[in-house]
């Protein structure tokens, strides 16, 4: 039922503007795959190419092994959920859901039955005869999902469908979407600029910038082992230090910065390229005495108690601001503003990363 998708050297130009630049990715049948990136990075263009509203300038898109060139959206085994959902306001809910069956010539009784089954699946049992305007944001969301599922697509494409919802509902719908995906086994391709969404829901995430796919990996690797500076800073927070590499060996290197020389992991393929040092705020410790290595004396300049963590801003002697996030386990001591401490970070968990892969052109 569900199908895999291959993108092979896919390029999409709009006039002189290269929206998608040589993207290669192989999405497995039944996978929940997210394209994550800032607005304008080309992720929506990829989605529109898969659904058939845009044709790639170069390259091949295969769905279930079949080349999709020249196939219109109404001929592809995909169903797209639009950012604004695009429900039909003049039809009652059940006609919305069964529209795909209606155009396939299914009779009215079967359509009605199928619509009610799908409404039960998305947990919205009594809505069949309501109009779209009578539903709340989250309910409309479910109707859109049901409408897309009605045509039994091999691939579901979702274009930031949660962005219009409030935080609580968004978190609820995340779990819901994930559950529906597991239940139906359909391949989901999800577009988002929200890193939390992408990490929490996906089997794999593809991070995009400037039309290029920067990294494809499971959420843990995206966060823990970003391949470049763009991925590291788009997914999560960082202290970023500039400097120069000295004596690299065995995947580790010394890195000379204006606030001292530190040891950190040097990722594969970063050899020779200009790199920066990326340190996650939650990997930093603050202590009275300096650590063995990678320690720098700081003065605490600002403390914000956030509840589950404590955000600390600290200044080094030359005025560089560093950020630490201390987990609040219930007994954590909140450092006083103005106190002089040592900031230490683990060499294994700090990375020397090159900048993003290639710009547009």
């Amino acid at each position: 039922m569900s199908a895999g998708i291959e993108l092979e050297n896919v390029v999409c130009d709009f006039g002189n503007f290269r929206a998608v630049d040589n993207v290669n990715v192989n999405i497995q049948p039944g996978e929940f795959f997210s394209f994550l990136g800032p607005s304008g990075c080309g992720k929506t263009t990829i989605l529109r190419m898969i659904s058939g509203f845009n044709e790639p300038t170069k390259g091949v898109i295969r769905i279930g092994g079949k080349d999709m060139r020249g196939q219109r959206p109404n001929q592809r085994p995909t169903a797209l959920i639009f950012q604004n959902l695009a429900l039909f306001p003049l039809m009652p809910i059940w006609e919305n859901i069964s529209f795909g069956l209606e155009v396939r010539g299914v009779d009215k009784a079967t359509r009605r039955k199928r619509a009610e089954e799908l409404l039960a699946l998305v947990d919205l049992p009594d809505a069949a005869d309501k109009m779209v305007s009578q539903l709340s944001g989250g309910q409309k969301q479910r109707v859109a999902i049901a409408r897309a599922l009605a045509v039994e697509p091999a691939v579901m494409l979702l274009d930031e469908p949660l962005s219009a919802l409030d935080l609580k509902l968004r978190q609820h719908m995340r779990a819901e979407l994930r559950a529906i995906q597991k239940r139906t086994g359909v391949t989901f391709i999800y577009i988002t600029h929200d890193q939390g969404e992408a990490l929490a829901m996906s089997d794999r995430v593809g991070v995009m910038s400037q039309g290029r796919l920067q990294q494809v990996a499971n959420p843990r690797d995206i966060y823990n082992n970003p391949v470049n500076g763009f991925v590291a800073s788009f997914v999560g927070e960082n202290n970023i230090l500039t400097g120069s590499v000295q004596n690299a060996a065995d995947g580790m290197a010394s890195f000379a910065t204006p606030i001292g020389t530190f040891r950190a992991r040097l990722v594969d393929g970063a050899n020779g390229k200009p790199v920066k040092l990326y340190i996650r705020p939650e990997h930093v410790t603050l202590s009275e005495i300096p650590g063995k290595e990678n320690s720098v004396p700081v003065t605490i300049s600002d403390v914000a108690f956030e509840g589950n963590f404590i955000a600390v801003q600290a200044q080094t002697e030359n005025g560089t601001t560093l950020v630490a996030e201390l987990r609040n386990d219930g007994a954590a001591t909140v450092p006083a503003t103005g106190s002089k401490l040592h900031m230490t970070f683990d060499a294994q968990r700090s990375a020397l990363l090159p900048d993003a892969v290639g710009g547009r052109g």
Partner: protein, 307 residues
Amino acid sequence: MQELLRRYGVGLTAAFIGLTAFWLLILVILPNVTLFESSFRPYLPVVDVGGPLDTYSLNNYMKVFGVPVDVSVLWMTFQVPVHIKIFFGTIYYSTLVTVITFLLAYPLAYYLAKVVSPKSLPTLFLLLFVPLWVSEILRSFAWFIILAFKGPLNALLLNIGLIDAPVRWISGYNSVIVGLVYTYVLFMVFPLYNAIQSLDTNQIEAAEDLGAPWWRIHQRVILPHAKPGIASGSVMVFMLCAGSLLVPTLLGSTSAQWFTQTIQQWMLEALDWNTGAAYAFMLLILCTVFVSVVMRIFRVKLSDIAK
């Protein structure tokens, strides 16, 4: 009112209200009331006006039932009063023109609203407007020349071999239909354009993504959304056609009479303003009734049209 006073003071507020009242009362209501009143009075020599003969009656309205002529519909032949025949002809051909303008305007409006790139839109609108820079009389007269028996249209068709002998285009209501469609098609294009343009393009794409062929998308998504635009365009075109005098006068053949021409004959040729007024009110009221009935059939509300 309070708000207006506070904002503009007594002088300006009085001027606003005075001008609006003048326009509404003196220029709109008063002439209509005068005409309405005179439509019930007989046409009398001046000396008898206001005398004992000057009484209210429905005689002027009853004149439409005079002078029967033969009318054939399919295989049946009826005796119908000539003015009633003209009236129904006017309604029938106005409806026909409305349908033709819709069939022409809908693809054009869709093309302008959803297909054409926004860059070339102003140029296309300009091209649509250019004919409006020429007066209606000249445009109708241009069609009179084009459609003439020895005119350019017949010459062209003869030259490319589409017809063997020249066609008499100006016969029956043909040329009136052509002229009315040409004159009023833009009144259909713009409401339709506005209606289609306000449709979220994602809905068209969603329908296509769900597997709908193009005609289904029009039938189920675009046409229902455009219904208020279709209604207001149709009402406008129909009313303008039924009330048009110029086009039928210039382009009508000897056998094509328009009801407005009958009114004009009462008013200007018979100099019987009273009967003319009665006929004018009949046209107004019956057209309004006809439009309301059609709107009821297509389930369009007045508030939809006002949008």
